[in-house]
Symmetry: C2
């Protein structure tokens, strides 16, 4: 089954590394701007179709201006194609107020062929200890209240207790552990994980603050097994109006599949 994310992040290639996605309002925030993880999935999928190795293993993006639903261009360039690794860049451009195209997102990503080396994991991480998804309190999804932004309707979260920010009672502790599943029932692919790590609400909401991503780097470590994903989100350090947010994602089999860190502006 091809999921909504793959459908909405696949673009036509018009030649010479240029792709023309129609950015979908299904991945919008409350104010109409598009979710950063969705933008990353669009930029990464376009580049993936140009690079000679199959698996994105690291992607790093700078968010320069709000991305809005509608036409855009993605300009890709393969900058190095080696035997074990290949690297390229991808830029999403959209027209500004004066009609001239300008950069919305700039991304650089490196690809490998994960199947070329045995997994042989050495892993010091541990997924969150959560009850099975079916036994958790869930929120989000297609039948969420009208107050939930479009992007929140694309996925369902499973938690043991509703987060403080969602009860208008921020906990003061910027951490969260939860299940993630696409609302359409599709399983996340390796590339989809670039969305997943920016899919959830920022944990600084537990400090009563909003946030806007400036830079996000994600490591994509393993093709996820089918089923919902376990996530841990944590802001370790906030200062000078900036904070980091780390997200780790494990698949249903307990394998670490993605690690991300972003630097964001406090609002």
């Amino acid at each position: 089954m091809i999921g909504e994310l793959e459908l909405d992040s696949t673009a036509e290639r018009i030649g010479d590394g240029v792709h023309t996605p129609a950015l979908s309002d299904r991945w919008g925030l409350d104010d109409g701007r598009l979710n950063g993880g969705y933008q990353l999935a669009v930029a990464l999928r376009a580049l993936a179709s140009e690079v000679p190795l199959p698996d994105p293993v690291v992607a790093s993006a700078s968010y320069l201006r709000p991305a809005m639903p509608g036409p855009a261009r993605v300009l890709t360039e393969v900058v190095r194609a080696g035997r074990r690794l290949a690297t390229g860049t991808s830029r999403i451009v959209q027209p500004g107020p004066d009609g001239a195209e300008r950069d919305v997102l700039r991304m650089e990503a490196t690809f490998a062929d994960l199947a070329a080396s045995p997994a042989e994991p050495h892993d010091l991480t541990a997924p969150p200890d959560l009850p099975p998804f079916e036994r958790c309190t869930t929120f989000g999804g297609a039948d969420a209240p009208a107050s939930v932004a479009p992007v929140g309707r694309r996925m369902r979260y499973g938690v043991t207790a509703m987060p403080g920010w969602a009860r208008r009672a921020p906990s003061g502790d910027p951490r969260a552990e939860f299940w993630f599943a696409f609302a359409d029932g599709s399983d996340a692919t390796l590339l989809d994980l670039a969305f997943v790590v920016d899919g959830a609400a920022p944990v600084v909401l537990e400090l009563g603050r909003g946030s806007s991503t400036a830079q996000l780097t994600v490591h994509l470590r393993e093709h996820p097994a089918p089923g919902p994903l376990r996530c841990r989100t944590l802001t370790n350090h906030l200062s000078h109006g900036l904070h980091e947010e780390d997200v780790e994602v494990w698949d249903s089999a307990g394998a670490l599949v993605a690690q991300s860190r972003q630097l964001a502006l406090l609002l």
Copy 2:
């Protein structure tokens, strides 16, 4: 006092965002290639001189080919200059075997003005619990044995026990805690921290493996107080011949000053 790193990473600007550093063999590894953190400091310092905000807060680099001592060019571009954040790119290029210039490193970095917002830190991190630097076992430095690579002579580490890999007895535990100080006695600046996070030997040496950095992202969070720095290095996950390495750095006053993560190839 201007430190060796600043001297060796400052380049002449020949106009239009182009800088011409002489990459110094003082920052070389055993095989003559240049340390990745040194390359990052060169690329970042050139860009810093072009960007209208003073403090680099995040830099992300892809290591495409070995950088060698000698002439190079750094090509910088400011891609967005906003009120709170400014972003640019920097490429180090050197001639290849056929004499044609090619990319060695590509970096993207975002700058802010840390002094424009009060620090007001909210910090869940804790520096390593180490005895004072003067009471630690130290290694590296200008008087290190001839077997130590040039880059290892530029700094001194302070530890409570020599690392397993240095005693040819890898511990099996890919973690390390240590003091870092420049061997010339200079204090690290905010920008220098981009070198510090890649200055130490990779902790996968404790698994008996070598490593080559593919991508490194560093967050620079605070101007360090004078004095040696405390560092914690950790590889959480290794699979498919790739591993991440996280480094956190605290200054002598206990403030978190840098956080980095790299993805590297196992050798």
